[in-house]
């Protein structure tokens, strides 16, 4: 499911089945030397999360990414974000990011950190293979979470 009216309406009637939310945490860096790398990481995270969405459409909702820069990052409290999402009816809240600093929250929250892979030079078949490989890292995490419930 995506965060659009159609899918959200479906979520409201099917909360028993759509019980997981995937939250991308996206770091943006506009500095001359880093902006390109930052856009590449954003592209990777966006492609990967929509690929995950496609596989698990019926159980997981992908929300728009929470984006921040080095300066604005401290204003983002993912602990309270998780609570709000829990209150909305999502049993499982999974954060996904290419920014390593979030792994310090790993104790209390489910943070999936993946190093970014530059997709921009790949043709669509290679890209699909790379994303499928990455997906394989996500599947066990989701299935353990789902089997707990």
């Amino acid at each position: 499911m995506f965060f659009n009216v159609n899918d959200v309406q479906q979520f409201q009637t099917q909360k028993d089945f759509i019980d997981t939310v995937l939250v991308p945490l996206l770091s943006l860096d506009f500095e001359e030397g880093k902006i390109k790398q930052s856009s590449s990481a954003a592209e990777f995270l966006m492609s990967l999360t929509s690929f995950i969405e496609q596989q698990f459409k019926g159980r997981l909702m992908l929300v728009p990414p929470f984006s921040y820069t080095e300066q604005t990052k401290s204003g983002l409290s993912i602990t309270s974000l998780k609570e709000e999402l829990n209150n909305a009816g999502f049993k499982h809240v999974l954060f996904i990011t290419t920014d390593h600093s979030w792994t310090s929250f790993n104790e209390q929250l489910d943070i999936l950190w993946l190093p970014s892979i530059p997709l921009e030079f790949m043709d669509s078949t290679v890209k699909k293979t790379v994303l499928e490989e990455q997906l394989k890292q996500v599947i066990p995490i989701l299935s353990t979470k789902w089997s707990q419930s």
């Binding site: 089945f17 496609q54 019926g58 159980r59 699909k128």
Partner: protein, 167 residues
């Protein structure tokens, strides 16, 4: 002369009939088009998409076949990649859509060790037989959709998605 003058009543009658006619046409035209179009389009050549899979390589074991086409959504053009599960049943090629009929997750072939030789949906444990028939007692309420198939120069072509014809 005065007989030819259009009275207020006549004028209103004419205009309203005219406008009403347009409105009726506006409503009916799309309905007629919807009703007729699919029938006309089914066999248009351009609707098939070439895949990189050779027909000779297909076996009775379903394999994933990716295919891409361009989708135009209003002003936004995008390349869509879709997948089908394709296998041979005798000489017949069968291509099934991987979209689970429960809430739309992607199903996999033979991925649940407890139920071999079935399509399995990891989301809520939905299962389908090889024909795409949903296994009663699991969440899906209908069979997997099917794709039209065709062949060109030894390669597999996939066409429109349609309701399952095997079950």
């Amino acid at each position: 002369m005065s007989n030819n003058r259009v009275s207020r009543r006549q004028f209103l009658n004419y205009t309203l009939t005219g406008v009403g006619g347009f409105m009726a046409a506006g409503i009916l035209m799309p309905m007629v088009r919807f009703a007729i179009d699919p029938a006309l389009q089914t066999h248009a050549e351009g609707d098939f998409v070439q895949t990189s899979t050779k027909v000779a390589d297909l076996t009775e074991e379903p394999v994933k076949v990716d295919f891409s086409y361009e989708q135009v959504d209003a002003w936004y053009k995008s390349e869509v990649t879709d997948t089908a599960w394709v296998y041979k049943e005798g000489d017949k090629i069968i291509a099934l859509s991987p979209v689970c009929k429960h809430l739309g997750c992607t199903v996999n072939w033979n991925s649940d060790t407890a139920h071999p030789n079935q399509f399995f949906c990891a989301c809520h444990g939905g299962r389908y037989e090889k024909t795409g028939k949903n296994v009663p007692g699991t969440p899906p309420l209908g069979p997997l959709d099917e794709y039209e198939v065709s062949e060109k120069d030894g390669f597999l072509l996939l066409g429109k998605k349609m309701a399952n014809t095997l079950v």
